[in-house]
């Protein structure tokens, strides 16, 4: 398309025909005031602030809604433009309260800033201002609706980006106001209510930053600080494999809130609520303040030296008595590369390769065939242009909220055909072309059937291993294959989510997905949790050292380490009772172990049972270090505050522990020294094909009821579990047992009553819920809760009334 020229304030600018004037001036750095316009939202043209003077137009025109024409002459500062802008500004201020001194938005408020430039010193209108009642729209967003200027950015965000219209403009004329759906009081124990008057989106916090006034502000940090007093600290969100960029803001050394840091390669303008509010756990009253050790008299707080000596002595005793291979280290994958590197180094120098971060994974059979790290062959910015997608065991919306947003854009703007093979019928915010819900035992078969259908359509001969796992391809599987191959789509992907990667036959799913990808020209996208890519590259896996270096003898993986007790464990920011999918086994192994060292940011009840030493480490916001996202992007994060109490940055704790253990190579002076110890570039992911389908399928008893396990998005790690506001949202449900109607009726049980759940020796009581998202014979019992921590993995259970 040929470009055209326009003239703005005497400057000639090149533009594409059809572009809106404001886009062109923004690119050229010419400032035009605005409130309702946002580059990622539809054009509303309702605030009328961006009026400019266009030659030959009878009236000033809104720059956001005026397409450019060749030869157009625009003046943004002429008398006519300025008087239109000043007039609109005066109008906006007529109803806007003069409460900037107590407004959280004050200091970062587009209305305040632009009123300085375009407003008068005093208002000529003295009539009463409009007043609007505030709604309680949930724990994350504070409302002050009298300040609203009705720009509808929040409404457009919820409808167009978050995908669920939770806010709307209600009423008309001067009585119009932003509201959620009206509702009465909460019913006492409302479970899974479909309709709520709170804003429940997993990316809802973005409306705070979109709001050009102080009508929507961050609720947890309400009134906590003035904007200009705070310092920004560039951080990376550790909660998912996107690595969203954010600014954590502090007041006199204390963390107050987090805001987005725009990075158009990664998170764009948005943050997930998890990224934005996860910081809140930093001052939870459950923070571990001082080192603690357990001796005959029980737990007591001690100084660092005593604690480290105690830890080193304990580990050395076990090493001498049982050998280093009886020791193991387990880490939280949301920690930095530096910490994970030092942890594995410490173990390996001690003489053990038992190091892992994959506590929710069940199938490790393709470890040796695996690429450098599990990740995405697709860059994050390419998600929006996908045409054909198969979601495999993925609830992308809740697991990777920002990738969910991007995929929704692909569905809406690109008419992407998205299919899903899942074990739970998730509520997606985009339309699905095909939804195939199968029980975990049928996942491999189903995917193999899709492969058969792909081979049938393309004529490529099928891998014999895959053929063995296939049965008769059903209509849905055929439709999924047809959808993936339909049209001349170029951008295709198979996305493996958490429940595929943690599946008991993940290796087979991975291998078949890779085969299909190869046949249809798709990219394989694995979306592991948090900084998993960093953990792999740091060598925090039993079969490889840092950067994929081979090790002499493969150590035990997380599942093996916890299945049978070792003599000693070093736990790094973990609560395996909540973090492991086989949590019951994990707890009993830890309780059996002779010696457990726990590096943790929080005190946990379970650690008080099994640990012998507690070493307080920095919260992620207090930590500097590196994260690597699913596309291999290496990003640095800087500590926003000093660690709480006597806690210390994790790398320092590990370093000094290494010193106390008298290990070689632990003489780092600063973090840069640690970084110099391993090579890390912008990591390119290697091809993920080459894995083979294991032909010893896991036996599933088709008559038994199985416990299906997933971890809710705000229960994934300790820093989220202790974040107060996130724990009050709809995405943190009360743990219960979910069964579909058929299974419920088959068992003769009634929803709403308590049932006893039995798994082997373990028995516990939970509320029973109807959950028709599940296939037959699957009992959904979430992990991540103390109430369910005694259960282990995907295993048969029995359910009885009472």
């Amino acid at each position: 398309m040929s470009t055209i020229n326009i003239e703005v304030d005497g400057q000639t600018l090149e533009a594409n025909p059809g572009q809106m004037l404001i886009e062109v001036t923004d690119q050229a750095g010419i400032h035009i005031p605005r409130f309702c316009y946002h580059p990622k939202l539809s054009i509303a043209a309702n605030c009328r602030m961006c009026l400019v003077d266009v030659e030959k137009a009878p009236k000033p025109l809104p720059a956001c809604a005026t397409p450019v024409n060749d030869g157009m002459v625009v003046r943004t500062q002429s008398e006519r433009a300025r008087s239109a802008q000043n007039g609109t500004m005066e109008f906006l201020l007529i109803n806007h309260p003069l409460d900037c001194p107590i407004c959280d938005q004050g200091g970062e408020c587009p209305l305040q800033d632009q009123s300085i430039e375009y407003g008068a010193n005093a208002s000529r209108y003295h009539e009463n201002k409009r007043q609007v009642k505030n709604d309680d729209i949930g724990p994350l967003i504070a409302t002050w609706m009298t300040r609203c200027i009705q720009c509808t950015r929040c409404v457009r965000f919820s409808e167009e980006i978050a995908g669920v219209m939770e806010l709307g403009m209600v009423g008309r004329g001067e009585h119009s106001m932003i509201k959620t759906h009206p509702d009465g009081e909460a019913t006492p124990d409302q479970v899974g209510a479909a309709l709520c008057s709170s804003v429940n989106s997993e990316v809802s916090g973005n409306v705070i930053e979109l709001c050009p006034v102080g009508a929507l502000t961050a609720r947890p940090s309400k009134y906590a600080a003035r904007v200009w007093e705070m310092q920004n600290h560039a951080q990376i969100s550790p909660h998912d494999c996107v690595g969203a960029n954010l600014n954590v803001q502090t007041l006199r050394g204390e963390i107050i809130r987090a805001m987005v840091r725009e990075n158009h390669q990664v998170n764009g303008y948005w943050l997930a609520d998890r990224d934005r509010y996860g910081y809140e756990s930093v001052y939870a009253d459950t923070r571990l303040k001082r080192p603690m050790i357990k001796d005959q008299s029980g737990w007591r707080e001690v100084g660092w030296e005593t604690a480290l000596r105690h830890a080193a002595a304990g580990l050395n005793t076990v090493k001498q008595r049982d050998g280093a291979t009886k020791m193991g280290a387990l880490a939280n994958p949301s920690r930095t590369v530096e910490e994970l590197f030092l942890l594995q180094k410490l173990m390996r120098v001690l003489g053990s390769d038992n190091v892992d971060h994959r506590l929710r994974q069940d199938d490790f059979r393709d470890d040796l065939l695996a690429p450098l790290y599990p990740g995405s062959e697709l860059e994050i910015i390419q998600f929006e242009s996908l045409d054909r997608v198969l979601l495999l065991g993925s609830n992308i919306r809740k697991e990777q909220p920002l990738l969910g947003v991007a995929l929704r854009q692909a569905a809406v703007n690109n008419a992407a055909s998205i299919s899903a093979i899942n074990m739970l019928d998730y509520d997606f915010h985009f339309p699905l072309a095909n939804t195939h819900i199968v029980s975990p035992g049928d996942m491999v078969t189903s995917l193999a059937n899709v492969a058969v259908a792909v081979s049938g359509i393309t004529g490529v001969s099928l891998d014999a291993d895959i053929q063995k796992r296939a049965t008769d391809t059903n209509a849905q599987e055929q439709a999924i294959a047809a959808s993936l191959l339909s049209g001349d789509a170029k951008n295709k992907a198979i996305i493996m989510g958490a429940s595929a990667l943690n599946h008991f036959e993940a290796s087979a799913l991975s291998a078949i997905s890779a085969w299909i990808c190869e046949q249809i020209g798709a990219k394989l996208v694995k979306l592991p949790e948090a900084n998993s890519a960093g953990a792999w590259l740091a060598g925090c896996v039993p079969h490889r050292a840092e950067h994929g270096k081979e090790v002499a003898k493969t150590g035990l993986n997380a599942k093996a380490m916890l299945a049978k007790p070792l003599s000693a464990y070093l736990l790094y920011d973990l609560e395996p009772g909540l973090d492991a999918s086989r949590s019951g086994e994990a707890l009993s192994s830890l309780e059996t172990a002779d010696f457990v060292v726990q590096c943790a940011a929080f005190v946990s009840d379970e650690a008080m049972n099994y640990a012998d030493v507690l070493l307080p480490i920095a919260h992620y916001t207090e930590n500097s270090g590196t994260y690597i996202n699913c596309e291999g992007r290496v990003q640095a994060s800087r500590a926003a505050a000093d660690p709480f109490g006597e806690a210390r940055p994790g790398w320092k704790v590990l370093r000094v522990l290494g010193n106390y253990l008298e290990l070689e190579g632990f003489d780092y002076i600063d973090l840069a020294d640690v970084q110099d110890d391993y090579v890390l570039g912008d990591e390119q992911i290697v091809s993920q094909s080459g894995a083979s389908v294991n032909d010893s399928p896991v036996k599933i008893d088709s008559k038994a009821i199985y416990r299906y396990v997933e971890t809710p998005m705000y229960r994934l790690d300790a820093s989220l579990r202790h974040a107060a506001a996130l724990q009050q949202t709809m995405d943190t449900p009360t743990p219960a047992v979910g069964l579909n109607e058929k299974t419920l009726v088959g068992l003769g049980l009634a929803a709403g009553a308590e049932v006893s759940v039995r798994q082997g020796e373990i028995e516990l009581k939970l509320l029973l819920e109807l959950d028709n998202r599940l296939p037959d014979n699957q009992a959904f019992i979430p992990a991540g809760y103390a109430e369910t921590s005694s259960l282990s993995g995907y295993e048969p259970i029995t359910l009885e009334a009472g």
Partner: protein
């Protein structure tokens, strides 16, 4: 180190949300409620013959409102579920239209019968305020709901009340009480009209078109030569509009605007009550000429008789016609003046809030459902068969004071015989008063007039000899619009009329854009002061005129400015 931040935050939750702090699995949960099974059943039975199409949302809301007399949240939630919409989307639409009563749970149903009393300009002149006061002080409010409403399109019989759907002309408390007692509250049936129309040669021209006796080019040329212009108010040349449409991609829509809400206007109602087929034939010719197969007629909710009549007449036409008809849909408005604005009407037809669209794109290019759309006011289409039958010369032979063609003037106010008058374009208000309306009311001296309803401005009697037509009044800061001429006398004050108009605009502003939302409200507050602050008001007027998205906000300053210009003695302290 202090960590007050956490404690502070906890405090906020505790007091603001009443969080139960005892146990985690009892913690505060987001509010919300499941859909009431009863409401779900009620919706299922009410909507059992319907399909959940998004664009029919307003029709469904009408069904609920008609059935239950109000909109309850439980029903809205159930409707949202049935239509697979976000609840707030339904709530947004329901609260936008005045004819929907969205009630809180603890609010009582409104009385089954509503008496709507018009308080717009013509009725105000005829004593609507006194009438409303008398009604409110009578025993009626115990039995019925008394509601002030903007113009109901019956200004010729002002003051007007509507009991249920039964209009009461020249209303007095006694007349209203009588109608209530008579228990006839549905709208009166209009007589069947097809037979008469056919007898007089109706649909002959359309049949000739279908038979290939006319070419679309000729027809468009004829309308262009006749200089027929859009009679809804904007006056866009009809021939050119059709020309533009016939160059657009297909499919194309036609939307007919029967939402005349401009205070003082009642010509469309008047004509449609007598002969709806003139409109329908005009519509068929338009559909044939621009090759459109889908037409929709948007009827304001204040005209239930016309809505019913159009339904039966279209049915009758379908039965009688041996020729093919385009798809003819009818949509019912819900009480919003703004939906008379062409793009707002399209939004409303799509089942949304009636927010005017920013142009470009123009609706001829991207209109209803994003497709090219021809929109016409009802009267405009009525002229189409008439002009085509009688020819350009016939139409052009009429005219006064240098203007040509014919117009229907809605004349109301202080005259002896208010009504709709067919008169040559360019007739002056004095001629209308003297030659058509039987002169001023006894004891009333002509003082001023509104040439085009509330938005067309106000002129003094000294400008009573100006020809009334498109383009003749601009120089005076006025326009003829839909030719709703309201005459007032020395018993009235122009400032009261201007205030009434501004309050009407504030009430009817959609609230989308800042200048109109804020400006209309502020202006009507300031206009209540004895002495008007000229500079402040002029600033308000400038911003409204320059920066509003649609005609409502742009024209709202007209009456205000006219008072300052022509009736300054009423608002200055001199």
């Amino acid at each position: 180190m202090r960590h007050h931040s956490f404690q502070f935050v906890a405090g906020v939750y505790d007091c603001a949300m009443g969080r139960n702090k005892t146990k985690r699995n009892k913690f505060w949960r987001p509010k919300g409620r499941p859909i009431s099974p009863q409401a779900r059943l009620e919706m299922e039975s009410l909507l059992k013959n319907e399909t959940p199409q998004r664009e029919l949302l307003i029709e469904f809301l009408h069904l609920i409102q008609d059935q239950y007399g109000c909109l309850r949240k439980a029903h809205l939630l159930a409707l949202a579920e049935w239509m697979n919409l976000a609840p707030v989307e339904v709530y947004e639409v329901a609260t936008f239209y005045h004819h929907f009563d969205v009630l809180e749970d603890d609010e009582q149903n409104p009385a089954t019968l509503t008496v709507r009393v018009c308080d717009s300009i013509s009725c105000m002149l005829a004593g609507a305020e006194k009438l409303i006061e008398e009604l409110e002080n009578s025993s009626l409010p115990d039995r019925v709901r008394i509601q002030r409403v903007p113009c109901v399109g019956r200004c010729d019989t002002a003051p007007v009340a509507v009991v249920g759907q039964q209009p009461v002309s020249c209303a007095s408390p006694q007349r209203i009480e009588q109608v209530i007692e008579e228990k006839q509250h549905s709208c009166p049936d209009l007589p069947a009209a097809l037979e008469t129309y056919i007898k007089e040669g109706g649909y002959d021209f359309y049949r000739a078109c279908l038979a290939g006796e006319h070419s679309t080019e000729d027809i468009i040329q004829t309308l262009a030569d006749a200089n027929l212009r859009g009679l809804g108010g904007a006056g866009f040349p009809v021939g050119r509009k059709w020309q533009i449409l016939s160059q657009q991609s297909k499919p194309r829509w036609i939307a007919v605007n029967i939402d005349e809400g401009e205070p003082g206007t009642f010509k469309d109602r008047h004509e449609l009550e007598q002969q709806p087929h003139a409109l329908l034939e005009g519509l068929l010719i338009a559909a044939w000429a621009i090759e459109s197969t889908q037409c929709v007629l948007y009827v304001r909710d204040e005209y239930p008789a016309i809505l019913a009549s159009l339904k039966t007449e279209i049915e009758a036409l379908r039965e009688w016609a041996e020729f093919p008809l385009p798809e003819l849909q009818i949509r019912r408005g819900a009480g919003a003046y703004i939906c008379g604005e062409e793009s707002a009407m399209l939004e409303s037809i799509e089942g949304k809030r009636g927010l005017p669209r920013q142009r470009p794109p123009y609706i001829a290019e991207q209109g209803l459902y994003g497709l090219p759309t021809l929109e016409h006011n009802a009267e405009t289409l009525m002229w189409v068969p008439e002009i085509l039958r009688n020819g350009v010369d016939w139409y052009q032979s009429y005219g006064a004071h240098g203007r040509s063609g014919l117009r229907r003037y809605s004349l109301s106010g202080r005259v002896n015989n208010p009504g709709v008058y067919l008169a040559p374009a360019g007739t002056t208000v004095r001629e209308l008063i003297e030659d058509y309306a039987g002169g001023m009311l006894e004891g009333h001296e002509f003082y001023g007039y509104l040439p085009g309803g509330a938005s067309g401005g106000i002129l003094p009697a000294t400008l009573g000899d100006e020809p009334l037509d498109f383009d003749t009044l601009q120089k005076h800061g006025c326009f003829i619009g839909s030719a709703a001429v309201i005459v007032f006398s020395r018993h009235d004050r122009a400032r009261d009329i201007a205030l009434n108009a501004m309050q009407f605009f504030a009430h009817e502003s959609c609230g989308q854009c800042t200048p109109c939302r804020v400006g209309t409200v502020r202006a009507s507050e300031i206009m209540q002061q004895a002495v008007w602050p000229g500079e402040e008001l002029e600033t308000l007027c400038c911003v409204m005129e320059d920066a509003s998205i649609c005609g409502l906000g742009q024209a709202a300053p007209n009456p205000l400015r006219c008072v300052v210009k022509y009736f300054s003695h009423e608002v200055s302290d001199a």
